[in-house]
């Protein structure tokens, strides 16, 4: 009985050391020291679920390319992917694992503003760099000490673009309707700034998006006699609002977020309700060489904006590590603007080329697939292109990318 037991334990120990050995194998094979670890924290499930998997794969594809070209700082990079479930609580648990267990230098790809807001403090406390695609203004207002950048234009920038577009279309009386969202207030302020600069007037109405009908709200909108209405809501409430405005006989311009007035909305309402409606969305820079490289790299014809942004994030982080000569989160924080916006830098559109130039001691300036990728001190991007579309004959038609 005793003997059997001892034998069994030996077997067990032998087998487990073999197993352990095999997981450690890759680092022996590289024989270049420990790999540098980078985490992706994207929503693989939940409302961000359509985007997260592609984002994580894109990061892996970029890293594979860099590893094939010899890695960075003489080391390979290892990507560890976790799921934030589009849920702050799950996001925090996954971030804890990435930071405490895997000891990653950087986390890329947090999508929902709520998740980013929850995860960011863990990152700056542990000196881990965080790159996000979330849009809420409040995120870069956090005391992140430089450990956070985002590639998504914030609502200040988006509000300004809406206002400028309305003014450029000749609107003098612009009305903003929106449900209660974290960004409705700042968006309206920035619309007003742009419209008033062009000599126009604005007014706004914040509605309760849980109501089945908005007749009285629409009456209030119509009393302002607007010649342009900007919709700040999501698809379900914007659908109802558009129908009510049509019934009320509104004839002016309509401008909405592209995520609200999308193909599904256009298909679900009678054509005349949404005809002529403009949509605005932050746009990838589709004519950039970085964008074309990305399309080839992941084999997706028109990657979504978040995939495009996460591609830029991983390229920037890898180059920042090379420029700093160190792979820590602090090194990335200190060096990221040196590779994203060096005034005298050679323009590059991918990390592999960038790493070569950095090795030769030359400064680089990354021009990304999502845009120029220049960051303010707070961590916001300073400019971005926007995509303007209009519903014409029941189809969303591209007007311009500017």
């Amino acid at each position: 009985m005793m003997k059997n037991h001892t034998l069994n334990r030996r077997h067990f120990l032998g087998a487990s050391s073999l197993l352990l050995g095999s997981t450690a194998l890759p680092s022996f094979v590289w024989a270049q020291g420990e790999p540098i670890k980078i985490g992706t924290l994207t929503p693989l499930t939940g409302s961000g679920g359509p985007y997260g998997p592609v984002m994580a794969n894109t990061v892996k594809a970029v890293v594979d390319e860099v590893n094939a070209a010899g890695g960075v700082l003489g080391r390979k990079i290892e990507v560890i992917s976790e799921d934030d479930q589009t849920n702050p609580e799950a996001g925090v648990r996954a971030a804890r694992k990435l930071i405490d267990v895997d000891a990653v230098s950087a986390i890329v790809g947090t999508w929902a503003s709520s998740v980013t807001t929850a995860v960011a403090p863990l990152c700056w406390e542990s000196k881990t760099f965080l790159a996000t695609v979330s849009g809420a203004d409040s995120i870069t207002e956090l005391p992140h000490q430089g450990y956070l950048v985002r590639t998504q234009p914030n609502t200040t920038l988006q509000g300004r673009k809406f206002g400028e577009f309305a003014a450029a279309e000749g609107a003098k009386r612009v009305f903003f309707v929106s449900p209660q969202t974290p960004y409705a207030e700042s968006q309206f302020q920035n619309i007003t700034k742009a419209v008033e600069a062009a000599g126009g007037e604005t007014s706004s109405l914040i509605y309760d998006d849980k109501k089945p009908s908005y007749r009285s709200e629409v009456d209030e909108v119509m009393r302002f006699e607007p010649d342009a209405i900007i919709f700040g809501g999501y698809t379900p409430d914007t659908t109802v609002m558009l129908k009510e405005l049509y019934r009320a006989g509104y004839q002016g311009k309509k401008i909405a977020f592209a995520y609200a007035v999308n193909e599904k909305l256009v298909d679900s309402v009678p054509a005349e309700v949404v005809e002529g409606c403009y949509t605005i969305a932050p746009s990838s820079n589709e004519s950039s060489t970085a964008y074309q490289r990305l399309v080839k790299l992941i084999g997706v014809d028109s990657p979504d904006p978040y995939t495009v942004q996460v591609y830029d994030q991983i390229n920037l982080i890898i180059m920042a590590m090379a420029a700093a000569g160190d792979s820590s989160g602090t090194a990335i924080k200190d060096a990221i603007r040196k590779v994203s916006q060096a005034a005298d830098g050679t323009k590059v559109d991918n990390a592999v080329d960038g790493l070569k130039l950095i090795a030769e001691g030359k400064p680089v300036n990354y021009e990304g697939a999502s845009g120029p990728c220049d960051f303010t001190d707070k961590g916001d991007i300073s400019d971005s292109s926007f995509r303007y579309e209009q519903v014409r004959d029941g189809k969303l038609t591209l007007i311009k990318i500017a």
Binding site: P212, S213, S216, P236, G249, S268, V273
Partner: protein
């Protein structure tokens, strides 16, 4: 003045839409003595059933309403028999909580088949009519008309048919009704069918006004519940009065408070009425 009249008009229209599912809710409460929150899912199911026959078979609004009534009613009865009936012995609160769970399950079954996308009925959208500075939509008028006809039919059913009288008898005094030879189990099934079916019709009317998605019923559930409570739980005329009162209060309040507080206004009205009159407008007994 015109503004106030317009708000009143809008309130009546909205209230009439809420009244139909509120009757269903209160009828179930009257007979079975528990609040059935699954009527949100029955409204959604009714809306989707009507959408299905409207888009795929070109059914007009009237047949679509009948289909919605039948489908929501049948789903209601089978869900009640399988999920909620076994809980009845454990008390009203248990059944009410069970109905919340049932609502979530049914809503997700709808999601499984139809997805989360927004849908609209394949019916033309007509601009509003205007008169004396007021505007009124032909579609809203049509919905109002249907709502009134359906309410009339329900009243007639309860007043003049054997089943209706039996239902009222059970609601009034279940023990006495049993002594008189009324089988409560049959009445319960009938009531659930009627209640769920009315919720289904309400779903269609709301969907006509807005759009259809799996959350349709859930979005109006609180208002429906509030209308029933305000009118006095278990009283059918009360549900109608409560729905109209909530609709009018919400719309008129928009003239003075920001639209974000619309729901809050409805509930403030309930608080006020129930403080003064705990059994609601027409409630016979205060629980």
């Amino acid at each position: 003045m015109t503004i106030l009249l317009q708000a009143l008009l809008n309130g009546v229209m909205n209230g009439a839409l809420i009244a139909v599912p509120a009757i269903g809710f209160t009828a179930i409460f009257a007979v079975l003595r528990y609040p059935n929150f699954a009527i949100a899912a029955y409204a959604t199911i009714g809306a989707f059933a009507a959408w299905w026959v409207n888009v795929h078979f070109g059914a007009g609004i009237l047949p679509a309403l009948l289909i919605a009534f039948a489908v929501a009613g049948c789903v209601g009865v089978s869900a009640e028999e399988t999920a909620l009936k076994p809980l009845r012995g454990a008390g009203a609160l248990t059944v009410a909580i069970g109905s919340i769970a049932l609502n979530t399950v049914l809503e997700n079954v709808v999601r499984l088949f139809f997805g989360n996308d927004l849908r609209g009925y394949d019916l033309p959208l007509v601009p509003d009519w205007r008169f004396m500075g007021l505007r009124v939509g032909p579609q809203q008028l049509q919905s109002l008309f249907f709502a009134v006809v359906i309410m009339g039919a329900v009243f007639a059913f309860l007043r003049y048919t054997r089943f209706g009288k039996a239902m009222r008898a059970v609601a009034d005094n279940p023990d006495l009704a049993r002594l008189k030879g009324i089988e409560p189990a049959h009445i319960a099934v009938m009531t659930i069918f009627l209640g769920a079916g009315l919720a289904g019709i309400g779903g269609v009317l709301i969907g006509l006004d807005a759009s259809i998605d799996p959350m349709l019923g859930f979005r109006v559930l609180l208002t429906v519940f509030a209308a029933a409570v305000l009118g006095g739980l278990g009283s059918i005329p009360g549900a109608v009065a409560g729905a109209l009162a909530i609709g009018i209060a919400e719309e008129c309040a928009l003239l003075v408070v920001p639209a974000t507080y619309r729901s809050a206004v409805g509930f403030a009205a309930i608080l006020l009425v129930l403080t003064v009159r705990p059994r609601g407008f027409f409630g016979e007994r205060a629980n």
